[in-house]
Amino acid sequence: MREAGLAPFIVGLPLLGAVVLLVFGRRIGRASGLIASGAIGLAFVLGVITFARLLGLPAEEREATQRVFDFITVGDFSTGVSLLVDQLSVVMVLVVTGVGTLIHIYSISYMAGDPRYSRFFGYLNLFAAFMLLLVLGDNLLLLYVGWEGVGLCSYLLIGFWFERPIAATAAKKAFLVNRVGDFAFMIGIFVLFVSLGTLDLLAINANAAAMGAGLSTAAGLLLFLGATGKSAQIPLYVWLPDAMEGPTPVSALIHAATMVTAGVYMVARLSPVFEASGGAALTVVGYVGALTALWAALMASAEYDIKRVLAYSTISQLGYMFLALGVGAYSAAIFHLVTHAFFKALMFLGAGAIMHVLGGEVDMRRMSGLRRAMPIVAYTFAAGVLAISGIIPFAGFFSKDAILASAWIEGNFLLWGIGTVTALLTAFYMARLYIRVFEGRLETPEGTHAHDAPALMAAALIPLGVLSVIGGVINLPGLVTLEHFLEPALGESEVPTGVLTFLLPGLALVAGAAGLFIGRRLYMGEGAEARRARLVAAGGPLVEAARNKFYVDRIYAATIVAPGRALASFCADVLDGRGIEGVVNGTATFIGRSSQSLRHLQTGYVRTYGVTFLFGVVLVFGFLLTRVVLA
C-alpha cells in the first residue's frame, strides 16, 4: 500500500481542531464541543476506512509508510516526517479515536458550564493529535514528539482547574515524575541512535539483533524506564493516583484508555530490541509488570476514593499488559490494552456521572444504593466490573485469559501465579466498589439529588458498555482474530492446546468469580459488617498496611529520605517529600534552592562581578601554569 493514505489526515484533523479551538475558542463558545467531537469523530471514520483497506490486502502487505514531508537527507541525519500504518498502529488508532470520540461527546455534557469550556476541548483535541502522532510515527523522533506532547497535554489537563492548589500540585508532580522516565527514554533513544545509526522504527527492529546483548539490554531497560513513567509502573507510578485531580473525562481518556498505554505500545513496537537482549530486559519488564499489578490491586482494595480505586486498578491492569509483554505475548498485551480501554473508560465515565450528580463527591463511604436512582450508570458500570473481573463472556475474560495462558505456556508459573492472585483481588475490589456504591439503601450526601446520567453522557456510556460485554469477540478463536491480525507486526504467539485449552481459562474464571464472591460476602447482605470485622481482625496487619498504602511513603521516607537528610542537613526540607516523588521533587527543589541561593552571588555590584572574573582568571591561569611547570 504505497498510495498517499489517510494517515496524515487522521493526525491532522484533531490538530486542526485544537488550533481552531485554542485560537478562536472564545468566539466559538458552546460550539467548541461539537467541533472537537466532530474532528476526532471524523478521524475515527478515517481510521475505520484505513482499517478496512488493510483488511482488504494480503496479510504481508498490510504495512505502509506514508511520507508526509520529504526532505533531502544527508549523512546519518535522514529522519523526515513520515507515518507508519500497519496492523499495530491501526489498532491503536481505532482505540484512540473511537474511545476518544465517545469521551469527547461525554465531555460536552460533563464540562458544560465550565468557564474554560472551549480551552478544555482544545486541549483534548491536541492530546488526541499527539497521541495519534505517537502511535503513527514511523521513527523514534516522532514517537518522542508525541510522547512529550501527550505528557504536556496531560500536565495541562491535570492542572486544568489550576485554581485548586491540589490540582496544580498534582500536575507538577506528574510532570516531574514523568521527566525522570522521559530522561531515561531519551538516553535510550540516544543509545539506539548511536549504535544503529537510525531512528526508523522498522529499521531498528530489523537490525536490533545486530546490537549485541549488552547494548540492547541497556537500550531496552532505558526505554522501559521511560515506559514506567508514562504507564505508571513501579517505581514511577506515584503520579497517577494524584492525577485524578483532573476533570473525569481526562482521567478516562488520558489516564486510563490511551496515554498511559503508550508505554505498552512502545515496548510492543520495539519488541525486537527487547528480545535481542537475550531475555534479560523482557524478564525485567515481566516482573515489574506483575509486581505492579499485585501491588496496585492491594492498594485499590483499601482505597475509599472512587476515582483513586479506578486509578490503582488502571496501574494494576497496565501491570498485566507489561506482564504479557514480558512473556513475549505482545498481541495479548495489545488485546488487553484494547479491552481495558473499553471497560476502564466506561467505569471512569460512570464515576464521573456519579460525581456529576453528587456534587463532586468521591468518597464511596458516602454513597449507597445509587442503582435505584441511576440505572443506566449502574448497569453499564456492572458490565465494566464483570469485564475487568474476567467473567465469561465479558471482554476482560478473553484478554486476561490470553495473558495468563501465555505466562503458563512460557513456563513462567510464578508470573502466572501472581497474575491469578491479582485477578482474584481485582474482582474483589471491583465488587467492593460496585456494592458500596450501587447496592443497598439509596443514600446521597446532603443537598444532592441523584438522577440518571444525562442523554449525552449515556450516549457515551452505552456504547462502551456494549463493547465491554462483547469486546472479547475480536479475539474469539476461529474468527478473524486480533492476534492473527497483529501477527505480521508482532510475531506469532502460542495458543494453549489440549487440556490447557479449558483448564487455564477455567482457573482464571474461578479466580474472578471467587473474588466477586468474597466481595459480596463482605459487603452485602446480613452479617457483612461482622464478617468484615473478623477479617480485619484476622488479617489485621495486612489490612492496616494496605490502608496505609503499604507504608510505601514511609518506607521511602526511611530508606531514601532519612539518609539524605543525614547526609546534608541543608537538604532537610528539600528531601522532605515522600518516596520517589520525594526524590524527584527533592531534586527539583534542590535545584530551585541552589538557584535561589546562587542568584544572590549576582549582587548587582559591578565590583563583585570583577572579583568573580578575576577568580576565573586565576583559575585558568593557575591551571595552565601548573600544567606547564609540572610538564
Binding site: R599, T603, G604, Y605, V606, R607, G610, L614
Partner: protein, 102 residues
C-alpha cells in the same frame, strides 16, 4: 641599548598589571576604576615593547599603536557612559548602581 635584562622590564609590567587589577576592583569611583584599567593596558604595552626587543622585530612596537587607539576609543565611550550615569545619579560611585541584580 641597555644591558638591563628583559626580565626586569617584565617584572615591572607584571607588578603594574596586578596593581591595575587590584585597583580596578577595590576603588569605587567609576573614573578611577577606568584609570586602573588604563594602567593595565600600559603594563601590556611595556610587555609588547620588551618582547619586541627580545625578538628583534618591530611588530611589538606597532602593536602598541593599536593598543593606544583602542584605549582612546574605549576612553571616549567609557567616559561618556560614566558621565551619563553620573549626571543622572549625581554620583560616580559604582556601588550606587545596582538596580539590576540576582
Amino acid at each position: 641599548m641597555t644591558e638591563v635584562a628583559p626580565s626586569y622590564f617584565l617584572v615591572l609590567a607584571a607588578l603594574l598589571f596586578s596593581i591595575g587589577v587590584v585597583g580596578a576592583l577595590t576603588r569605587r569611583n567609576a573614573i578611577v576604576i577606568f584609570m586602573f584599567i588604563e594602567l593595565m593596558l600600559n603594563a601590556v604595552n611595556l610587555v609588547f615593547v620588551t618582547f619586541s626587543r627580545m625578538w628583534g622585530n618591530l611588530d611589538g612596537q606597532v602593536l602598541v599603536f593599536f593598543v593606544l587607539v583602542v584605549a582612546a576609543a574605549e576612553a571616549v565611550v567609557g567616559l561618556a557612559i560614566i558621565l551619563l550615569i553620573t549626571r543622572r545619579r549625581e554620583s560616580a560611585n559604582v556601588d550606587d548602581a545596582h538596580l539590576l541584580r540576582w
